[in-house]
């Protein structure tokens, strides 16, 4: 029997109950939100279960929702079952004041660089990550550039040479 979204949702609900919420299927892709502290448990369950077999981490990144007070940063996991060719996606939310999420590097090697990138651009601290340093931006950078907290044009910047190449 083919693996359908309903089966996945049912198995996850049996295991985790109310800790998973906001079930949806935009464009046929099963999506849900997990509580912050169980993200690794959900990943491990999806990985280990003989029927689900979500053993490929397609992508991992963050989203900043500045209006969602107390849970501004969302970390999104994209998973792929390569046997049945089924994809799912889930989010965990965290507070921007203390953006801490458990690392998935124990389960997926691919999570190593992806979590570094997420830290680089959003400042999400992945607890237990072996080498959580910037990956793409310069090491001296002291802010997280993809957060939605910067004005579109900063008139105070000095690195733009207006003398010869003015805007």
């Amino acid at each position: 029997m083919a693996l359908t979204n309903e089966i996945i949702q049912q198995k996850l609900t049996e295991k985790f109950g109310d800790q998973l919420s906001y079930w949806d299927q935009p464009y046929g892709m099963l999506t849900f939100v997990a509580e912050n502290n169980i993200n690794i448990k959900v990943l491990q369950f999806l990985y280990d279960d003989e029927q689900l077999k979500f053993r490929f981490l397609t992508d991992l990144q963050a989203v900043h929702y500045p209006d969602n007070k107390g849970a501004e940063l969302a970390v999104v996991y994209h998973l792929h079952n390569l046997v049945d060719n089924v994809r799912i996606r889930f989010k965990v939310f965290t507070n921007i004041e203390k953006p801490e999420v458990f690392t998935a590097t124990g389960l997926y090697e691919a999570a190593n660089f992806m979590e570094r990138e997420t830290y680089d651009f959003y400042g999400v601290k992945f607890i237990g990550h072996p080498n959580l340093i910037r990956i793409l931006n310069v090491d001296e950078m002291d802010y997280f550039p993809m957060r939605k907290e910067f004005p579109l044009e900063d008139q105070t910047r000095i690195d733009k040479d207006d003398e010869m190449f003015g805007r």
Partner: protein, 187 residues
């Protein structure tokens, strides 16, 4: 049918410097000879990171033919180069690498910033892109354009040639030059 033989009558030779000439000898200024030789044998180091680099490839290829200016010898080791041609967007993370390449070049050395990105950051007015390479290394000639056509790159190259030709032998020892280098943290 045999093709008619055509002679290339438009070959332009480098001008002979002023001097006193007789049979079998010529006396002239040493500086003029050196600058003439330097001007017509500039070895470029292409530092191409994006689309301007593609225009440079056209410039170096047979149609535009930068070899006409004595520069067919592209070097990919900075140590034997005279001219650093920076073509493309230089991110802030690339800055120290560009400077390292510049430092590895031996004096005398010149820098050509090709395109809007290398000159000023171009459209990439953003947190990760350096707003002009003149923030890390001194630039001799800027070529505008996004990307500039090969003609524009050649024009910039000829401007470099003029600079090389006009430069005195002792310019690099001058106080002003040392001051310029110091302003970039290069001694």
């Amino acid at each position: 049918m045999s093709r008619p033989v055509q002679y290339n009558n438009t070959v332009k030779f480098a001008g002979i410097p002023e001097g006193y000439m007789g049979e079998g000898f010529m006396a002239t200024n040493f500086e003029k000879v050196v600058s003439l030789a330097r001007k017509n044998s500039i070895w470029p180091l292409p530092f191409a990171t994006s689309c301007c680099g593609i225009e440079f490839m056209a410039t170096a290829a047979s149609h535009y033919d930068i070899a006409r200016f004595g520069s067919e010898r592209m070097s990919f080791s900075p140590r034997q180069c005279d001219l650093l041609m920076v073509m493309g967007t230089i991110s802030k993370k690339m800055g120290p690498i560009l400077k390292q390449v510049y430092l590895q070049m031996a004096e005398p050395r010149w820098v050509l910033a090709v395109g809007a990105c290398a000159s000023s950051g171009g459209i990439f007015d953003t947190y990760s892109v350096m707003q002009g390479i003149d923030q890390v290394i001194p630039v001799d000639v800027y070529v505008p354009g996004c990307p500039p056509r090969p003609e524009a790159i050649l024009d910039g190259f000829m401007k470099i040639q003029e600079l090389v030709h006009a430069e005195g032998l002792r310019r690099r020892e001058s106080e002003q030059y040392k001051e310029l280098m110091n302003s970039y943290g290069i001694q």
